[in-house]
Symmetry: C2
Subunit: 481 residues, 2 copies
C-alpha cells in the first residue's frame, strides 16, 4: 500500500529543527551586530507623530447618522460602538467604542535554513503608536487594504511567499483573534512559511535564529505584538528533547522542555481540556453587538477625543503621521490610547517536573466565540478604582507580591502600534509552588505548553495576550535557568 507513510517523521524532524534554532544563541549575524543595526534603524526610521483633533483628520469622516468614524475609502478600520451583556459578570452590561476591521490581514514570517539552522526574516518597522519607535516585526504585516494596494503605496515586500504557498513549506497557518476588549471580531492570518529560495534581506530586514529572538523578547519594546503572536504559533514539540538537551542543574529549563513533550502527561488530558472549554462557553451567556458610536453611554466626545467619563480605560485620539520609511509618507488616522500600563501574567508551576501555566477562560465582548484562553491575570490595575470590587481579578496579588526569584520573565511589551497609541503591558511569568491552587475554580486550568501549542493550530482558543506569553514561555527553553 503506497499510501502508508507516517506524518510523524516529518513532524518530529520539524520539531527538532525548531528546537535547534531555539538553542542557537547566534546566527548569520551576532546579537551584538544586531543591536548596532537595530539602534541604527531606531535612529534612522523616525516618524513625526502629532496629536490632531478627531474632527480634523484628513480623509476620515464622522457618519452623521451613527457617529462612527471611518476612512473615506471605506477600508482600513472604523471606530464604532459595542453593546455588551455578560450575564452574572461584575459589570453585567455596558457600551463602549470599539474598532471594527472585518478584513483579514496577513502577519507572516518567512523561515529558511541557513548554515544548517532555521532563521526567521524579521523586519525593523515603525508604527505611529509605538512607544519607542522601530520594533522587530514579522516579515510581512499587511492589512488586506495594504496588500490590495488601496492606498496605492509601494508593493509589500515578500508578500508573494504568503499569498501563494505552493512552492514552499507551510510551518503554521491559522486565523487568530486580537484584543477582544478593543477590536470587534478582528482576526489576522498568522502564517510561517519556510522556503529554500535564495532570499536576500532588503534594507530594514534581518535573519535571526529563534534563540536570538528569544533573547530579544526579554528587552522592553523590542519585539512587537505581531511578531510575538506569529512566533507563538510555531509547532514547538519536545519528544526526546529533554534527553537531547540534558541541561544539568537547570531544572526549570528542563521543566519547560518536558512541558513541550507529548511524552509527559499534564494534569488534564486534552479531551478534558476541550470539554472544559466547551462547558465554559456554554455556561457564559454573552450577547455583544455593534451599535452606533453615539450610543456609547458614559463616553464623552469633543472635537479632540472620545473619553470615558471616569478618565479610565482608553481614549480615542487622532494623529498626523509623517514618515520617510513607509509606503505612504504622510497620513492621518485615529488611534486607541489605553490609560495606564496593563499586566498580562501567567502563574506557572512544576508538576512532576513538567511546567504548567494557569490559563483563564476569559470572556471578551469582541471575541467571535464567547471566550478564549488568556493569562492568569489580565488587567490594568488603575481601572479598579472605578470598577466594582468584585471585578478585581483573582491572583492579582500573587503577581504584585511575587518575590524576585520567582519572576521567571518580565518585560514591558507594546501592543500593535498601527491601531493603539503607546499601549504597553507588563508581561510576566511567575513561578509558584507545585501545590498552588490545585483547584483554581471553574474558569481556570493548569495546561502544559504542549497542550497550548496544540490549541494554537486552531482559531478561537488562545487570545492575543496569552499568545504573547506563550512566545515568552518558549524563550525560557533557550535561557539557562
Amino acid at each position: 500500500m503506497s499510501g502508508i507513510r507516517t506524518a510523524s517523521t516529518t513532524g518530529h524532524r520539524r520539531a527538532v529543527r525548531i528546537a535547534e534554532s531555539a538553542q542557537a544563541a547566534e546566527g548569520v549575524i551576532t546579537l551584538a551586530r544586531f543591536h548596532d543595526w537595530f539602534a541604527d534603524r531606531r535612529r534612522g526610521d523616525v516618524s513625526r507623530v502629532e496629536r490632531k483633533p478627531l474632527v480634523e483628520l484628513d480623509r476620515w469622516s464622522t457618519d452623521p447618522a451613527t457617529g462612527d468614524i471611518r476612512h473615506d475609502s471605506g477600508r482600513f478600520f472604523t471606530v464604532t460602538g459595542l453593546s455588551a451583556e455578560v450575564a452574572g459578570a461584575a459589570v453585567p452590561a455596558w457600551t463602549q467604542p470599539i474598532l471594527l476591521q472585518p478584513e483579514i490581514g496577513i502577519l507572516g514570517i518567512l523561515a529558511k535554513e541557513i548554515d544548517g539552522v532555521l532563521h526567521f526574516l524579521m523586519q525593523a518597522k515603525n508604527e505611529p503608536g509605538n512607544p519607542d519607535g522601530v520594533e522587530i516585526s514579522p516579515t510581512v504585516q499587511a492589512t488586506r487594504s495594504n496588500y490590495m494596494r488601496v492606498h496605492q503605496g509601494d508593493p509589500v515586500p515578500y508578500l508573494d511567499y504568503f499569498r501563494d504557498t505552493r512552492r514552499h513549506h507551510v510551518v503554521a497557518d491559522v486565523l487568530q483573534s486580537e484584543q477582544g476588549a478593543w477590536f470587534f471580531r478582528k482576526r489576522n492570518r498568522n502564517i510561517i512559511v519556510e522556503t529554500t529560495d535564495e532570499v536576500e534581506p532588503l534594507e530594514g530586514f534581518v535573519w535571526l535564529t529563534l534563540g536570538q529572538l528569544h533573547r530579544l523578547l526579554a528587552g522592553d519594546t523590542v519585539v512587537n505584538m505581531d511578531a510575538r503572536t506569529v512566533l507563538s504559533c510555531l509547532p514547538f514539540s519536545g519528544v526526546g528533547l529533554s534527553s537531547s538537551y540534558p541541561f544539568h542543574n537547570q531544572e526549570f529549563r528542563q521543566s519547560v522542555l518536558r512541558s513541550y513533550s507529548e511524552e509527559f502527561a499534564g494534569l488534564h488530558d486534552i479531551g478534558d481540556i476541550l470539554s472544559w472549554i466547551t462547558e465554559t462557553r456554554s455556561r457564559h451567556e454573552v450577547l455583544a453587538h455593534r451599535v452606533p458610536l453615539r450610543e456609547a453611554e458614559l463616553w464623552h466626545r469633543n472635537d479632540e477625543t472620545i473619553e470615558h467619563e471616569s478618565g479610565l480605560f482608553f481614549r480615542v485620539i487622532g494623529v498626523s503621521v509623517e514618515s520617510g520609511h513607509r509606503e505612504v509618507a504622510r497620513w492621518n488616522q485615529p488611534l486607541l490610547e489605553p490609560i495606564g500600563i496593563g499586566i498580562n501574567a501567567f502563574l506557572v508551576k512544576r508538576v512532576d517536573g513538567v511546567l504548567h501555566a494557569l490559563v483563564h477562560a476569559g470572556v471578551q465582548p469582541g471575541y467571535l466565540d464567547v471566550l478564549e484562553l488568556g493569562p492568569t491575570v489580565r488587567c490594568t490595575p488603575g481601572n479598579y478604582g472605578w470598577l466594582p470590587e468584585a471585578a478585581r481579578p483573582p491572583f492579582l496579588d500573587d503577581v504584585l507580591t511575587a518575590p524576585p526569584e520567582r519572576i521567571r520573565f518580565a518585560s514591558l511589551l507594546s501592543e500593535e502600534g498601527g491601531r493603539f497609541y503607546n499601549a504597553r503591558n507588563r508581561y510576566m511569568i511567575i513561578e509558584t509552588d507545585a501545590d498552588h491552587t490545585p483547584d483554581p475554580g471553574p474558569d481556570y486550568r493548569w495546561l502544559t505548553l504542549h497542550q497550548l501549542v496544540g490549541l494554537l493550530r486552531h482559531s478561537h482558543y488562545v487570545g492575543v495576550e496569552a499568545r504573547s506569553l506563550v512566545a515568552c514561555l518558549h524563550s525560557l527553553a533557550s535561557r539557562p535557568g
Copy 2:
C-alpha cells in the same frame, strides 16, 4: 518522573471499543425486537400538528418595530432578518428571514459498556416538524430554556450526566453549528458521556450498539439529525483495525477502516488542510448581520406565512401542536418549512486503498466563522430555476447520474423537527474513480475520515450536513461491501 504516562494507550483502547461496538450487529436487544418497539412508539406517540396562521400563535408576538416574531418569554427562538453580502458569489447580496437562537442547547448521548460492548442510550422522540413522527434521538436533546425549565415542564431525564460530567468519562464534547442557511450562528453542545452507573432505560429509551445504529441510519427518517450530529463526533480511529478486521474480499469496507487510521496518509497532510481552511476563510469576504425581519426584501408576509416571491427556498409557517408525550402537552410555534427535497452528497474515492471524501469549504451567512466544510454537493435542485446558472453547484451531475453500483449510501433523512417542518434531504455517498478530479478547485479537498474525525473535535470546521454524512460514512465500516 511519575508524570510519564502516554495518553495514546487510553485513546487506542477507546478506539478499539468504538470499533467493536460498530461491528456488533446485535446488542442487548435484537434489531428485530427494536423494530417492533419502534413501530409501537410510532403508533403510540402521535402528535396532532395543525397549521395555524402566524398572527394567531398563542404566546408568540410580532414586534411592531421590527416585524420579528418572538416568544413572550423572550426565550426559545426568534424569527428575524439577515442581510448577507458575499463578494464574488453568484448572488452577491441578499436578505432573508432567519432563525435566531443564541442559547446553547445540549445534544447528549449516554454510553455504557453492557456485556462487554459499548451501547448508546437512544430515545424515541417526536417533534412537530418530523415527517413521519417518532425518530431515534439522543438521550438528551434540550435547549437551555428546556433544561432551565422556562416552560415549567417535567425535568429532562438523564440531564445530570451531561451537566456534571465529573463522575463519568467524556468521550466527546464540542460545540457544533447547525444549518447556516436557516439559523443565525446557532450552536449546540454535542456531548457523549460514558458511565459505569447502573442505568435503567425509562419508557421511550433503548440501548443500542453502534452497529445497530449504523443499520438504522440506512432507513428513511429513522435516525434524527441531532443523533446523527452527535454520532459524527465519536472519536473513531483505526490504528491496527484493518488487520484486526481483515474483511476478506470486502475492499471497499477495508478502505473505510484504513481511512480512519493515522497509519495511512491522505492525499494532503493535516497541516496543509488547516492552511487551506485558513486561506479559504481569508479569501472569501462575507458580511452578514441581523436586520429587522420586515427588511427582508422579496419575502412576502401575510397573516398565515412568510414566503419568497418565487415560491422557492422556504416559508415560515405557524403550527399548533397537541402531544401526549411531551413535557408540555399543547403549544403553538413557528416552523421553517423548506420547499422541496434537498441533496447532501459526498463524492468518495479510494486512493491507494484509503477512502477519501471530497469536502467543500462552503460559505453560509449564518456561520460564525465564514465557512465550514460541507458535502461535495449541498443543494435543493428545485431552487435552480430561479437562481442564476452560475449558482448551480459543481459535481451535481456526478450525483444525479451516478450508476446504482456506485451509490454506497442513500437515504432520506429529516432535519431538526423542532424548528423545521417536513425538512428532508437525500443523503448520498457516491464512489467515483480514483482519478476523479485530482484538482477539484480552490474550495474543495479530498480528506480521509481520520482527518474529518480530528477536525470534529473542534468547533467551526465541519457543518451539520457533512456531519450527517460522516455518521453515514462511519456506518459503511459496519456493513459488508
